[in-house]
Symmetry: C2
Subunit: 165 residues, 2 copies
Amino acid sequence: MSLADDLLARNRAYAEQSFGGPRPLRPGRALAVVACMDSRMDMFELLGLENGDAHVLRNAGGVVTDDVIRSLTISQRLLGTTGIVLVHHTDCGMQKLRDDEFGDELESATGARPEFAIESFADPFDDVRRSIARLHASPFLAAKDEIVGFVYDVDTGLLHLVEPA
Amino acid sequence: MSLADDLLARNRAYAEQSFGGPRPLRPGRALAVVACMDSRMDMFELLGLENGDAHVLRNAGGVVTDDVIRSLTISQRLLGTTGIVLVHHTDCGMQKLRDDEFGDELESATGARPEFAIESFADPFDDVRRSIARLHASPFLAAKDEIVGFVYDVDTGLLHLVEPA
């Protein structure tokens, strides 16, 4: 079976058995979650949120990039969210990279070097703090009073609060 | 209760009752999903995937931006994914915006105008096709043979396959 047919069949089962009916466009808890793309994090489940509660933004690392600022600006100014929840995690792929080395690898594999930063980091707690600083530095966000950051432990399923430096 | 304490309490319940134990860093199905941040889409559930199966990348619209290319490059070259699944949806906030008007609103509210594109669109099917074209145009992705695009209907829970234009 093709990937498309497989996913369509799985989705039909979801629509018939689990879909809870339409929900409003605006997130019920007025939250936006910014998390790493890691496959081991089911964001609604591990935060104890319901479908419809929060926008979910995810990228490699859960880093606050321009695309995250773009998305949060729309989330806040168009769709009324006010709280921001950052989630990095232990055993992250971004800890296994270095920006310069990965740039070299890409250049030798493809002949091109990306203009974007790779955004690797050594410590997820430090990188949550860096991401929080980037949120505060953006002129575009409308609400910055409720920002919390966590590191998720992939071995225990537990979140750890990131305290300010 | 503060937002942090509320989420920590919900997460402790998850870790005690639902966490299924450690899983490998590499996604089990070698997939990366790129989807809109919309609060009504629980990606693993609506695609019938298990926790651990796929990287999940999300932003406003599910649009392929530089940050998505960055994340997919790492997903493929560091963590071995090969398939890419794009998911836009009906009733998207991005259909309610226009780049130029929203830029004007931001400038008058903040005094600054973003350097990034807002990435609004009128039709989610067309924008999935535009995003697929951006994947094919990137020099950095290692695997482009298995790319599928869907539009999720938020009223029925059903995915619709996006056929090439």
